[in-house]
């Protein structure tokens, strides 16, 4: 069955419908990772987004429970050049396309994804949709227009846990409270396997509520949407800074940055993939990183920053475009990175950052006690 991708500027790409038979709209983005399709689809940060996979073959090794990054698919659709559905691959529990269909997720294959990516690269990420051939283009266009823009959108409330949950660590590490704006299983796993206990709270939890349980530190997690729409989380963080060590990843990095007075902005087409070089300016070492973000923190790399909480140092920079990848406050125990040290999918170069986070939380917690 035929289907098509339509973008808000009217650009159309045809393909074959291979997922659930329904139309869907959202922001059309692309990821350049060459493996890890299941991890990406289940990453809450992709909420309301249609993922274009630049690698042509998707589905090669099927899907399995162990590759889930959350309990369900968050992306709205998969746009592919050559999807396959084998279920006999070693380790596969189900075929990729069977799974998408079962989960009700539309998917399109046979699309000239390279042409689509070049268009987005030049024109910027934009709204769009995947539609069955029977849907008239005019109707598709109306539905795209009705889709809200990503700018100003609070999606944390859509993906956050309904009530608090605790993930006990495999040891006697610190107790860390996390505000759930879209946690990934790999982040939980990286804390618990290092002995830390992670208490996951709805993103609307207030500072008082968090402080009441007296955690050793607070962690701000990744997630979808515009950080500028999450003032309530930013306010919570402002109250926590200086009272608890606060660390974060991705959206958590953007929220922490906003909390100390820095700005965020929307990147033209985002960073999504598994090959961006990030330099740790303190050690000079370069890590190949997993990336998945559409917004970034404004600032000039290399410079010291004045913040509402004293001086901050830029610790990490993206070597592709010079954007900020990490910040650390010098006067209060707090720091964050834009990229994904937890991988899932992507390289494991930065797993050591979790040891750093935990050590700093322990140190900060003792200092503030």
């Amino acid at each position: 069955m035929l289907a098509y991708v339509l973008l808000e500027d009217g650009t159309r790409f045809d393909g074959d419908a291979v997922g659930a038979p329904r139309d869907v709209t959202g922001e059309v983005v692309f990821t350049t990772g060459m493996s890890g399709y299941q991890e990406s689809m289940t990453d809450p940060s992709f909420a309301r987004q249609l993922i274009t996979f630049t690698y042509p073959h998707v589905g090669n090794y099927g899907v399995s429970a162990s590759a889930m990054e959350s309990d369900r698919i968050h992306a709205r659709a998969a746009i592919m050049r050559a999807a396959v559905n084998p279920s006999r691959a070693p380790g596969a529990e189900q075929g990729w396309l069977d799974w998408l269909r079962e989960q009700g997720i539309p998917a399109i294959s046979g699309v000239d994804t390279r042409a689509l990516v070049r268009h987005i690269r030049d024109a910027g990420a934009m709204r769009g949709g995947v539609f069955g051939a029977q849907t008239p283009e005019a109707e598709a266009r109306e539905r795209i227009t009705a889709e809200p823009s990503m700018v100003g959108l609070d999606l944390a409330r859509e993906v956050t846990v309904a009530e608090s949950r605790t993930f006990a660590g495999d040891g006697d590490g610190p107790r860390i409270a996390a505000l759930d704006t879209g946690i990934k299983h790999s982040i939980v796993g990286n804390f618990t396997s290092r002995g830390a206990t992670l208490e996951l709270h709805p993103c609307t939890t207030t500072a008082q509520e968090l402080l009441a349980s007296d955690p050793d530190g607070v962690f701000l997690v990744p997630g979808p949407g515009d950080p500028a729409a999450l003032d309530y989380v930013v306010d919570t963080v402002r109250e926590l800074l200086g009272r608890k060590p606060v660390f974060g990843i991705c959206l958590g990095h953007q929220l922490l940055s906003r909390a100390v007075g820095l700005d965020t902005f929307k990147l033209p087409f985002g960073h999504r993939g598994a090959n961006h070089p990030v330099k740790d300016l303190r050690s000079g070492r370069i890590a190949i990183t997993s990336q998945n973000h559409g917004f970034a923190v404004r600032g000039e790399p290399g410079a010291r920053l004045r913040t509402d909480y004293g001086e901050a140092e830029l610790t990490h920079v993206n070597l592709y475009d010079g954007t900020i990848e990490g910040i650390r406050l010098l006067d209060v125990p707090a720091g964050c990175v834009q990229y994904h040290p937890e991988a899932g999918p992507g390289p494991n170069d930065s797993l050591g950052l979790f040891d750093e986070f935990i050590a700093e939380i322990e140190r900060g917690s003792r200092a503030l006690a």
Binding site: Y61, R88, R114, N275, I286, I288, Y320
Partner: protein, 1030 residues
């Protein structure tokens, strides 16, 4: 960290002649490194014995030494040049082994030469199996359980501990030479013996079997600050058990989950750190058991490799170039990505296409050789294809192979045939699917991953499937279109919309068609010419557009042309590029037969061809028309006839006269060409060969016995002819010119004959209407000159002549084709100079157990070397040493020659006797030698009982064999003698003239090591003699 200023002069070692397992990829990597280091302001001293390389072009180094890659000559270069550093990681295993030897014998320390790129300890950790295993274990990585053995009894312990099957690999050999898989006890003993003999240190490794596991390779780069990136992952479609050089491989990997892949990535990084390669690229090979998730590190190469050349071409990440910069101190983030120009090299390429590599085999050249594939590499070349899907890439790679004969699977049980993999296995897999086999059936026999089998089955059942849609050209840009690319290269894709990415620009373009996969008869020499054509086109202010599918080459470096199309060289594929490029002209005369075959089709499609027109090519190739032309010019040719049936051939033979040179009409590299001496011999030939020749024409030529063969390379612009070089073959006519050693200038032709040759060449070129290069082969008997053939195109000898004379023939030819006149170029009349250059062929007999090491009219060599000296013996000794047939300085010579050579062999025996050699010979030869009063011991022939000649050779009691063939009967004494000599690595001379040259060379080498001299000194200031004289 910035560029190192404490070193000024860097020595780079090349990889020598093209051999199986070490091919043109090292010219690509070495040329890149030389270029980069010169750009960085270093003095570069290069040693490489292979003249057919771009890296040995004088402008690629400060000093270029075409000398044997052996400790002696390299030590002489070091003494002369006093380099500060040696970069050993770009010349394959040859350079690495040589660097190791020079460290061990103290040369490097004595002259204060620092090893950069890889230290001595790192080389040992990677190369010595025992140390490697210990290093991996210390890093927490698993290697296959294995043991090291230096004797058969030690090896038996492994047999008892691990059980069969077992893998045997000799230490320090190329491409697994001498190794194999043992499935039975008998095979085990045999493989162990071969392996021990093949290892230069008499050491083998016996591995537990991981047959059938998935085979993966990761290309890793590390800088001095310990930053590491993975450039590319490569998955072997053929599982463990087939050498990766013989496997069909795909990039990036297709079947591993992200988590499995990341584990390989982590391990590859751990390997390069543990081995301690401080800067540069390495290749790490893994076996992965898909069912159990087990990972085993198979090996690592602490240098650029065949796979790294492939990875560079597959991703656009130039590994060798970046490795060279890292070696002199730069960090990855200080080097920019050439393709995007806006991002640094400290990243990992993202592909949005699939790359498939296919090996190219040449078993048809070596009758009697086991064509089965195993851990011992047998392919002679490779092709690479890029597609948007695996099926597109796979189908394009298949048609890029350019097989001489299509594979026609038999009616038998294909599945049973698949159990023993051969060169045709994928043709069989596809046919099996067409005949209804299931993916499961094929998986059971081949262990190929189900993902590939599913794709292959789809392709088998619907071969047009991947090519539905619109053909368009997409770019390789390192980043999956995330950033705009400044200097991308292109591949054809078939898409629904057909969005084309080629940015053609306004300048006129000239398209150069490359030579496709390396094979015997069409090697790196033609790529060399194509690269020179691209340089010349660019210098002329036009855009050079290159089309080729061979990833090992310099021509497929994106730097070589303005636009590169990585495409099969079929008419259809080329015409589609012409459509996009609208070139001013297409050049077909530099890439060998591959583009020449397309000339007529291109002309018919109205595509302008530059240089010699197809009509003139046909005139030279059509025997009747060419014969008539020679008649008109008053030039002589041996009598000939063309037969269309066996009967016609037998009828024509007496008229032409025996001996006859017989061959089927369309052959490359003298395939299926033989000399027959009688009607019975002709009948036998027709029965064996012409039957399979598809009823095509059979050519019969009178063979001129004991003639001197001469090769001429000339350039014609339509009005003037310039003779670039006249070469005299060392072997007599009858040995394929590609396998014969040749000398420039000729060593025994008089000035009258040379003048006659010049005159004949000039008249032929003008009469044919050649514009560009022409190669003529002559035979000289007494005072008579015969024209054997004329080819109006680049020949195999063009690079050799260019290196010997210092004048780049291919560039001059290209300028002529672009409209310049020879008269305006101020070319010297006789560019020979006063030194002697000798080209020697390098033969692969030692890689093909069971092949006959006899030279004949069919070409078998894979590569060539060059020796330069003040006189013939010095140059010949160097050429022999460089070719690996290092002549002995003393010891025992075994002689056995055919009756007609008996008188001539006596002279050789006398000379060797005077040099102190002991003589042994078979009865007839011994009698002839004894008659001259030379002491000689008589040996038994094979039929005369033990101990016979082969026993002597196998015992190692012989140091040099001189054996001229007596007949064509298979499995003769001669065959067994040559086989045994090759197996023991004893030089084996099969012609009288070769024997005489060897004797003179031994005498010269005994006198003194010939001095080393750079090309720049020989050609630059025209004063070669002072430098060459001792």
């Amino acid at each position: 960290m910035p560029r190192r200023d404490d070193i000024q002069k860097i020595l780079i070692l090349g990889s020598g002649p093209i051999v199986i397992g070490q091919a043109a990829e090292f010219d690509y990597s070495g040329a890149q490194a030389c270029k980069v280091l010169l750009e960085e302001g270093y003095e570069v001293v290069l040693v490489n014995s292979n003249p057919a390389t771009i890296m040995t072009d004088p402008e690629f180094a400060t000093r270029t030494y075409i000398e044997p890659l052996l400790p002696g000559p390299v030590r002489q270069v070091i003494e002369r040049e006093q380099p500060d550093a040696l970069l050993p990681t770009l010349g394959g295993q040859t350079a690495l082994n040589l660097a190791k030897e020079l460290h061990e014998d103290g040369t490097l320390a004595e002259h204060g030469v620092e090893l950069i790129g890889a230290t001595y300890d790192a080389i040992c950790r990677a190369e010595d199996r025992e140390i490697f295993d210990a290093t991996m274990q210390a890093a927490g990585l698993r290697t296959a359980r294995n043991t090291i053995a230096t004797s058969l009894s030690q090896a038996r312990v492994a047999l008892e501990t691990f059980g069969l099957p077992l893998i045997v690999r000799p230490a320090f050999t190329l491409g697994g030479r001498g190794g194999g898989i043992a499935r039975t006890e008998e095979e085990f003993e045999q493989t162990v013996a071969t392996g021990l003999a093949a290892s230069p240190i008499g050491q083998i490794l016996i591995d537990e079997s991981v047959l059938g596991w998935g085979e993966f390779e990761l290309e890793v780069m590390r800088d001095a600050a310990d930053n590491v990136v993975i450039v590319c992952s490569i998955e072997n479609v053929d599982p463990m058990g087939i050498h990766t050089g013989d496997s069909v491989t795909v990039a990036p990997q297709q079947t591993l989950t992200d988590r499995q892949y990341q584990r390989l990535r982590d391990q590859a990084i751990a390997v390069i750190r543990a081995v301690g390669v401080e800067t540069g690229g390495s290749n790490v090979q893994f076996a992965v058991n898909p069912a159990t998730d087990e990972i085993i590190v198979i090996e690592m190469n602490p240098r650029v490799s065949r796979s790294s050349a492939l990875a560079s071409k597959a991703t656009g990440f130039p590994i060798a170039k970046i490795a060279a910069r890292l070696a002199v101190g730069y960090l990855l983030d200080e080097i920019s990505n050439d393709i995007t120009r806006s991002t640094p090299a400290s990243f990992e390429p993202a592909l949005d296409y699939v790359v498939v590599k296919w090996p190219r085999f040449a078993f048809e050249k070596f009758p009697g050789v086991d064509p089965g594939l195993s851990t011992h590499m047998k392919s002679v070349g490779e092709v690479m294809a890029i597609g948007r899907t695996f099926q597109q890439a796979f189908a394009k790679a298949m048609r890029s192979r350019e097989l001489d004969l299509e594979v026609r699977p038999g009616a038998g049980d294909l599945l049973a045939e698949l159990e023993t993999p051969g060169a045709d296995r994928y043709d069989l897999v596809l046919e099996a699917f067409r005949r209804g086999a299931s993916e499961h059936d094929v998986h059971e026999r081949t262990s190929i991953d189900p993902w590939f089998l599913r794709e292959l089955r789809e392709l088998a059942l619907d071969p047009e499937g991947p090519f539905r849609g619109v053909r368009c050209y997409k770019a390789v840009d390192t980043c999956a279109a995330e950033f705009a690319a400044e200097t991308p290269y292109y591949y054809s894709a078939w898409e629904r919309s057909g969005a084309n990415e080629v940015r053609r620009g306004e300048r006129p373009s000239v398209m150069i068609l490359g030579s496709g996969p390396n094979r015997i008869g069409q090697g790196i020499e033609f790529d060399y010419c194509c690269v020179h054509a691209a340089m010349t086109v660019r210098e002329s202010g036009r855009d050079a557009v290159m089309v080729n599918c061979n990833p090992e080459t310099v021509s497929t470096d994106y730097d070589t042309s303005d636009r590169l199309y990585f495409e099969p060289l079929t008419l259809e594929d080329v015409l589609a590029i012409v459509e996009v490029e609208q070139p001013e002209g297409v050049i077909v005369q530099f890439g060998g037969q591959t583009p020449l075959k397309l000339a007529a089709g291109l002309e018919a499609a109205g595509v302008p061809l530059l240089g010699t027109q197809p009509e003139a090519i046909d005139h030279a190739e059509d025997r009747g028309r060419f014969g008539a032309l020679l008649g008109r010019l008053g030039l002589r040719a041996p009598a000939f006839a063309t037969a269309h049936s066996e009967e016609e051939a037998l009828a024509a033979a007496p008229r032409v006269g025996f001996p006859l040179l017989v061959r089927p009409s369309y052959v490359l590299g003298g395939r299926a060409m033989e000399i027959v001496y009688s009607t019975a011999g002709l009948e036998d030939y027709l029965l064996r060969v012409a039957r399979g020749a598809d009823r095509r024409e059979i050519f019969l030529d009178r063979f001129l016995e004991n003639a001197i063969e001469v090769d001429v390379d000339a350039i014609c612009d339509g009005e003037d002819v310039w003779i670039g070089g006249i070469m005299q073959h060392v072997e007599e006519a009858g040995i394929h010119s590609g396998d014969s050693a040749c000398v420039l200038p000729p060593h025994s032709l008089g000035s009258e004959m040379l003048a006659e040759i010049r005159e004949a060449t000039t008249r032929m070129a003008l009469a044919l209407g050649v514009v560009g290069l022409m190669n003529v082969q002559y035979a000289v008997t007494g005072d008579d000159l015969y024209v054997i053939e004329a080819n109006p195109r680049a020949s195999r000898t063009v690079p050799f002549v260019s290196k010997a004379t210092g004048i780049p023939l291919a560039k001059i030819a290209c300028r002529v084709m672009l409209g310049e006149r020879l008269a305006t170029m101020e070319l010297p009349q006789d560019p020979g100079g006063d030194h002697v250059s000798i080209k020697e062929a390098v033969l692969p007999f030692d890689r093909f157990a069971g092949s006959d090491a006899l030279l004949g009219p069919e070409m078998r060599s894979t590569g060539e070397v060059m020796g330069v000296g003040a006189d013939f013996p010095a140059a010949f000794a160097k050429a022999q040493a460089a070719a690996g047939a290092r002549l002995p300085q003393s010891g025992t010579v075994f002689l056995t020659v055919t009756d007609s050579d008996k008188s001539a062999v006596v002279g050789i025996a006398a000379q060797l006797h005077d040099l102190g050699f002991a003589m042994v010979a078979t009865r007839g030869t011994a009698a002839a030698i004894a008659r001259m009063g030379i002491p000689v011991e008589r040996l038994n022939k094979l039929g005369e009982g033990s101990p016979h000649v082969v026993d002597w050779i196998e015992r190692g009691d012989v140091d040099l064999v001189i054996n001229t063939p007596t007949g064509t009967e298979a499995r003769s004494d001669g065959y067994e003698i040559r086989r045994a000599a090759v197996a023991r690595g004893i030089p084996c001379v099969t012609t009288i003239s070769g024997g005489m040259a060897a004797a003179r060379a031994i005498a010269a080498a005994r006198a003194a090591a010939p001095p080393v001299v750079s090309l720049q000194e020989i050609h630059g200031r025209g004063s070669a003699s002072p430098a060459l004289a001792t």
